[in-house]
Assembly symmetry: C2
Homo-oligomer: 305 residues x 2
């Protein structure tokens, strides 16, 4: 491993640990509430995830000069929303997964009904957590930023964002017809891209980034989300199953239509490179020291597992 | 039917129709989103419900002199949250109900996975809808009211309110041990009481009711919610199954522990009367013409089906 890569991995793990502590600060209290639901929520939240969304949010917040603590609640809320989507995705009614990253899924441990309720509780608690920031607004400017962050969060988590992507993904998987790039890219930009976009935008908004950056940040986030997903499709064909901890070739075996099955390998690799290059170019136009963000994005996109 | 009762029923149906129009105003738009999810959400929302929660909210808003339109979005949001809770309650993973009020449930029409996603989408869209009111705040006072309403909404819908009640209800049903009144009343005040409390409080808060009314409004709402549920338990024993559209005696047949099985019929009827009397006494201390609210509360509690 070259030194720069080693330094980045160390920094990544330090940041992850820091974010873990922030998330723990905002776990639900256990007073006047059935213990079981809090247990199921915490089991789901503290699952050793990489915390990429809050990490992107925090990094954007720092780049644009943020120094308050208001971003912490939004970081925790974002991870709660990401987590609820996984908890519901794993349900027998959805993907019926008993394991995720080698660990039993929430419904597998606490039962099917509690899986539904724990997901609901996490989504609701995300808003409870983020809404409290409205009580820390000292100025009209603060209020406007928090209002905007709340609006971005709720919009991108719902049918115009992540949920829309999940529905489209489900429909694509059940579809007997040939899919076009438009449909595949809708799923990628919504199911994965929407929360990445919201994370980057919220960090920038809370730090008071000028509105003129908004379109670029959104574009950058969509590039990252799309490239991440196409890379997923690529790795399913050429990845190392030992490194990835899951079998390769499962998309083809399942007859799943992906960006790669539609466009071929060569074009897919070229598209990942194009998107990655575009995202990095946009990042270079941001203020501050963006070396960590650059490496994070490269790490996300150009991973081999 | 005496004239007063007839007038009330007419007013009730007029109010219901008015609220139906308000809810329709805030249905999700269909642009850039899979049609199927919007269809499933609208099917769930437009199910001929009685709209009691938004009705209580609107009535409190009027009593305390509210004249803005900000309450409408909260009325729609409240009904979305109530609706999502029914959609998820009906899932095979939960109560496994294919019919509700003689109509097929959401998952029975759109499938199990869509049932999960439609519920998630409604909960998220409720916050999207209510959060927009932050953009209609002209004064600091407006902002403080809306912030407080959002906080009350999210708190009472989550683990410290409705979801907490649902979990406790599920655990009580599965419990082999004898339940005490404390556990039964926890379920009643949370599963049903929390959203009634939130509805009444939000109406009053948005209208600018003095804080001194808060405790009384909360108490009144809890009385209504609890009396409503004990009446449910009573009707399960003495109700007319034709009038109710469901069999009587199902709690006993299912071995379900209720307020009536624990305390007996006489004490249960006395408790409903006490709670109802207390709620009405509190309502009489509210400003404005509260005759409709009084009749609404009596109608809710003293119903025979």
């Amino acid at each position: 491993m070259i030194k720069e890569e080693k330094d980045f991995k160390e920094q990544l793990s330090l940041r992850g640990a820091e974010i873990e502590e922030i998330i723990k600060k905002y776990l639900p209290g256990e007073e006047d509430v059935p213990t079981s639901i809090v247990e199921a929520m915490n089991y789901s939240l503290l699952s050793g995830g990489k915390r990429l969304r809050p990490m992107l949010m925090q990094e954007m917040y720092k780049l644009f000069g943020g120094d308050g603590v208001g971003v912490e609640r939004f970081m925790a809320a974002m991870e709660m929303i990401h987590t609820y989507s996984l908890v519901h995705d794993d349900l027998p009614a959805m993907d019926n997964d008993e394991y995720r990253r080698g660990r039993r899924t929430t419904w597998a441990v606490y039962g099917n009904a509690m899986g539904v309720l724990a997901g609901d509780a996490l989504l609701n608690y995300a808003f409870e957590t983020a809404l409290q920031v409205l009580y820390n607004c000292g100025t009209v400017e603060d209020f406007q930023r928090v209002r905007s962050a709340l609006s971005v969060l709720s919009f991108n988590a719902g049918i115009y964002g992540m949920i829309g992507g999940q529905v489209a993904d489900m429909e694509a998987e059940n579809s007997q017809e040939a899919l076009g790039n438009e449909q595949i890219l809708y799923v990628h930009t919504h199911k994965t891209g929407a929360l990445i976009k919201a994370s980057m935008l919220i960090g920038a908004i809370l730090a008071g980034a000028p509105d003129s950056y908004r379109a670029d940040i959104a574009k950058c986030a969509m590039d990252i989300g799309t490239a991440f997903q196409i890379q997923d499709d690529i790795l399913d064909v050429v990845g190392d199953s030992a490194e990835m901890g899951k079998p390769v070739g499962s998309d083809e075996a399942n007859g799943k239509q992906t960006y790669v099955t539609i466009n071929g390998m060569e074009k897919s690799v070229a598209e990942v490179n194009r998107l990655s290059g575009e995202a990095l170019e946009i990042i270079q136009s941001f203020p501050g020291d963006h070396s960590f963000l650059e490496m994070l994005v490269q790490y996300l996109i150009e991973r081999r597992s």
